[in-house]
Amino acid sequence: MRHPAVIALALFVHSFLPAGLEAAPFRTSILPILTKAGCNAGACHGAATGQGGFRLSLLGYDPVQDHENLTRELGGRRIDVTQPEASLILRKASGQVEHEGGRKLRRDSRGYDLLKAWIAAGAPYGSPDLQVARIDVEPDDTLLEGTNRTVALRTKAFLSDGTSQDVTEIALYTSNDDAIAEVSKTGLVTSVGRGLASIMVRHSGQVAAARVAVPLGESLAPTPEWTPLSFIDKHLFAELARMRVPASPMSGDAEFLRRAHLDLTGLLPRPEVARSFLSSPPSVAKRLSVINELVDSESFIDFWTMKLADLFLLNGKSEPADAYYSWLRGQVASRVPYDQLVRALLTAKGELTKVGPANFSTLANDPRDFSEHVARMFLGSQVACARCHAHPSDRWTQEDYHQFAAYFARLRHEDGLVQIAARGEVDHPKTGKPVSPKPLGGSAAIPDPAADRRAALAEWMISPDNSRFSSAFVNRVWKHLFGRGLVEPVDDMRPTNPPTHPELLEALAADFSKHRYDLRHLIREIVSSRAYQLTSATRGVNRWDDRLYSHAYAKELPAAVFADAVAQVTGVPDTFEGYPAGTRAVQLFTPATISPELDVLGRCLRKGPCDGSAGGGGGLARALHLINGSTINDKLTGGIMESLRDLPSGDVVEELYCRALTRPPRPEEYDEWKGVLDQAPERFEAAQDLLWTLLNSREFGMNH
């Protein structure tokens, strides 16, 4: 270690007194020294099995056990109260005796002195209740004007006894992107690249984050005098200005129409719809009316039922899956607010074939596994780490984890029936004792012992006070529409993984909650914004931007949407066993429906969260399939091809472009393909080849 932890004197004024009087408390003052020195890192003594016979809890989540191991094990040789400097902990850490981890603490450091004084004072634990309640980092949002600029972070800990300490020197700092910002062991941030980064700060089980921004542009780009169409625009454009990134212009009508149709309904605009829309002069009002039509359409219901089914991992078979899907579609169709829908999922019981939402409870057998699904889906939280130890990058403890799981301790499903058992508990793995149910990071009334515990959880979950519930959902919808979440990954929302636009996410979540968790309202709000309607063509430095929404980000069509789009363009529908003719891929109840085509296209299998690339499909296999396989090649006869037989070549080109790309061919495209068709010995084959080409093209496969 070239830079041993230098502990500022100020840190311990309230606790550090001469030996024999009051010693520094172990948990809040001594343990952080060990953490900072790296003693309890996962690769060292913090490993599950310890290291070299000495085990500490990972990053100090279990101070009592750590104190015990330090002072009692090995016949007390680690700590020698009579001869503090002979203590193994000091001799090993300072490299005076052989230590595999090397020297971690210099003898002339403040940390060494403090440890020594604490040992001399009898190595006490201190008050059992004293702990760090939260930490603050300042400044929490910094703009650095260019590269090689610095800002010094200050971290303050607030203790449970009401006092506070400056812990800048002993907190831990990690940059989430050290190609943009690097951070030193003492919290000095240096900009090394351009963009947005965040610095995670950890201390004594608490976490915080600081955002660091380095503008992409050298100078402020001239911003057009735009009237924001929505509060969304205000937030996004302010950040673009701050980061000196120019926004791209508004999309043309064709680009907008295709994007909105695909995003809202998973279908391409029908050619006649496209022609009529493109033939009238551009206006904000005409776009709004399209948005309203789409939001109110039947295909919107199908598409968003699929999106929700992906989220809820609806993957069953036969009658239960039918019941579940029909229920879900009914909820979307009758505009049941999202909070009510989730309440139903969380509390349903009964026969799987009769009570659709009861199927949700079959996601897992174990209450812990089940609670992980619930936390991920509805709170965007990854809590699994806290199953075995305190979460290293979030605030959850093992206690939090098991208390949350306890809501599902009595949930049972067998023989096609979901019910609540009279007894059943979740035990804390350490104490072996049952824990009482408590929501993650909140409080709720302890349920009546006889009642279904899940009802209390559902109340807490969907309460307007629980903004994480609406944030998590809003973030998912945002990601669908923009191709990127305000928080990424959408399943990993935590204080140390801040949004790119915190105020915007907050405003959207509040708006969603205020509008009674109305999915259609949320989508309308976002899609009506100018930001959503920007073109995907880039402008100047904004081509480097992938998180400020300076232009529309192209999205690959999801497998089911791609398959439906091919069917739609060719006029040759797919058939799915067990479904009526004309059923589209988006309308399938469950991925248990056999379809090798959808598999190779990479459909969401609903076994785990789908990020668009899930499943075994995609990649080279998908490319080969699209070139040679049935999805495209079996649809080049019949359907639209027959009706094009007698049209002039130029019209064929125009018709196919309009169907596949929702735009007329540009002159050079028109000339090229018309030439190809006119000169072909077999015009029908050439037209088939043109259709094949369009369906394989980069532009067709993207929503841009």
Binding site: N176, D177, D178, A179, I180, G193, L196, L314, N315, G316, K317, N359, F360, A364, N365, D369, E372, H373, R376, M377, Q382, A384, P392, G483, E488, D491, T538, N542, W544, D546, R547, H551, A554, E556, D599, V600, R606, K607, G608, P609, A614, G619, L620, A621, L624, H625, I627, N628, G629, N633, E669, D689, T693, L694, N696, S697, R698, G701, M702, H704
Partner: protein
């Protein structure tokens, strides 16, 4: 009723790709992977060091194979631990393995058996990722699978895809096995689909001649060149798409490469030798692919998560001899001997493993649960010294008592054997230099 999904991101590894400010390394025009290769050059790629092994076949026993019932039997342990299977002698003096692996017992001279694999990640997904990347999964960065690293080091250029995955039965499984992590997605595995005996997409559709296929390809290039202004800077998906099409066309243009995927070109007696089970076809296909120039082929065999009735399921399952062990035994031994007979064993490293071992103590259902603290791995070929056992577990098969080997050590060693320098630095999409392996060391006994 819902089928049980894989655990909901049970992870201190809720990993997903880090958010990078994309520097546009993939936002190039046209169908060229030259840029991907350019990325290598920028990272200061050292040419692969010479070594015996040029290819790898990884047989992945998905679910966690039971070390106590296959390669590390404890005949003297109490009945609640002891396998009901007999230990039989092998062609290596003093080495005994399970009675249901008789063919394998006859090729153990080629095998370095590691009995002391140990780690602490006891669920399928995280355990698999740990083994297949050599990195303990973390939320910070998704590491590439070993196959992607090998593909990346060897590069494209040839008609054969460098990295191929032959999936197991049923959907899902550990698709994480094929992931390219922070490397471009073009280095993820080519998944041959559900039936190894019939790889789709390699033949032109009916009625489409070679000439017409070529014409279509040219039309597609033209079409994409018209729309090159579309979707710039969209986070790499476009660069990936283009790379996949380029790979596809390179493969389609080579009759030899296409033939490699065609199992019907094998004589019936060869197919017979590998067995009729899926893993047999998978191993045979893997041999053909490696022979034709693929660098890393993963054969996934599912069904090893034996929580119940292990002594019936492993050997017999539906009927006598239909279990996992006999199929594996036939396929594995056939692969080793076939490679040897063809002179390919020295250049082909064959790895047999799964995500973890299983609990020494039998559970109430006569099965064994997940046990990452001890497991066995078989390495053969590729210059590995066979006929030896590395490491040992205690008398219950609970923990290694000698020579504990972690997934980083294993990954480090496999990469090294395959001529990939584990200390080499690669670039993440954000331009951050990243050592392939930051921990782990070479298992010296192997060579």
């Amino acid at each position: 009723m819902n089928t049980l999904p894989s655990s909901p991101l049970r992870r201190c590894d809720g990993v997903s790709r880090r958010d990078f400010l994309h520097l546009g390394v993939l936002a190039s025009f046209g169908w060229s992977v030259r840029d991907l290769l350019g990325l290598q050059a920028a990272a200061g790629v050292i040419p692969a060091t010479r070594s015996a092994a040029t290819s790898c076949i990884l047989i992945w026993l998905d679910g966690g194979p039971s070390h106590l019932d296959m390669f590390d039997l404890k005949p003297d342990a109490p009945s609640e631990v002891r396998s009901q299977f007999k230990a039989i002698p092998t062609d290596v003096a003093g080495l005994h393995i399970c009675e249901h692996l008789p063919r394998t017992a006859a090729v153990m001279k080629e095998v370095a058996l590691i009995r002391s694999l140990t780690h602490e990640l006891g669920n399928h997904d995280t355990g698999a990722r740990f083994l297949l990347t050599g990195h303990r999964p973390t939320p910070a960065l998704e590491h590439p699978s070993l196959g992607s690293l090998v593909a990346h080091a060897r590069g494209f250029g040839a008609a054969m895809p460098p990295y191929v995955a032959i999936p197991g039965d049923g959907v899902g499984g550990n698709s994480g096995a094929a992931k390219s992590g922070y490397l471009p997605r073009a280095f993820s595995a080519f998944n041959v689909g559900s039936d190894p005996s019939r790889v789709n997409g390699l033949q032109s559709p009916e009625g489409v001649s070679f000439a017409r296929s070529d014409l279509r390809r040219d039309m597609l290039k033209k079409m994409d060149s018209f729309t090159r202004g579309v979707e710039q800077g969209s986070g790499g998906s476009r660069g990936d798409r283009d790379a996949f099409y380029e790979q596809a066309y390179r493969l389609l243009a080579s009759p030899e490469a296409k033939a490699a995927f065609d199992l019907s070109r094998e004589k019936p007696e060869v197919r017979q030798r590998y067995g009729s089970a899926r893993i047999g076809a998978g191993c045979l296909l893997a041999r053909r692919l490696v022979e034709a120039g693929s660098r890393f082929v993963t054969v996934v065999d599912t069904g090893w998560d034996t929580h119940q009735q292990i002594f019936k399921e492993l050997p017999d399952s539906r009927f006598a001899g239909s279990g996992k062990l006999p199929s594996l035994d036939r396929a594995y031994a056939a692969l080793i001997t076939d490679l040897r007979e063809r002179g390919l064993l020295d250049s082909t490293l064959v790895v047999l493993m799964g995500e973890f071992g299983r609990t020494p103590k039998l559970n109430a259902f006569g099965g064994r649960d997940h046990w990452p603290r001890a497991g066995s791995v078989c390495l053969a070929g590729g210059g590995v010294k066979g006929g030896q056992v590395i490491g040992a577990t205690d008398s219950y098969g609970e923990v290694p008592v000698d020579r504990p080997i972690g997934p980083p050590d294993l990954a480090f060693s496999l990469l090294k054997l395959l001529g990939v320098d584990p200390s080499r630095e690669l670039l993440t999409p954000s331009g951050r230099p990243m050592k392939i392996m930051s921990e782990g060391s070479f298992i010296a006994e192997l060579i």
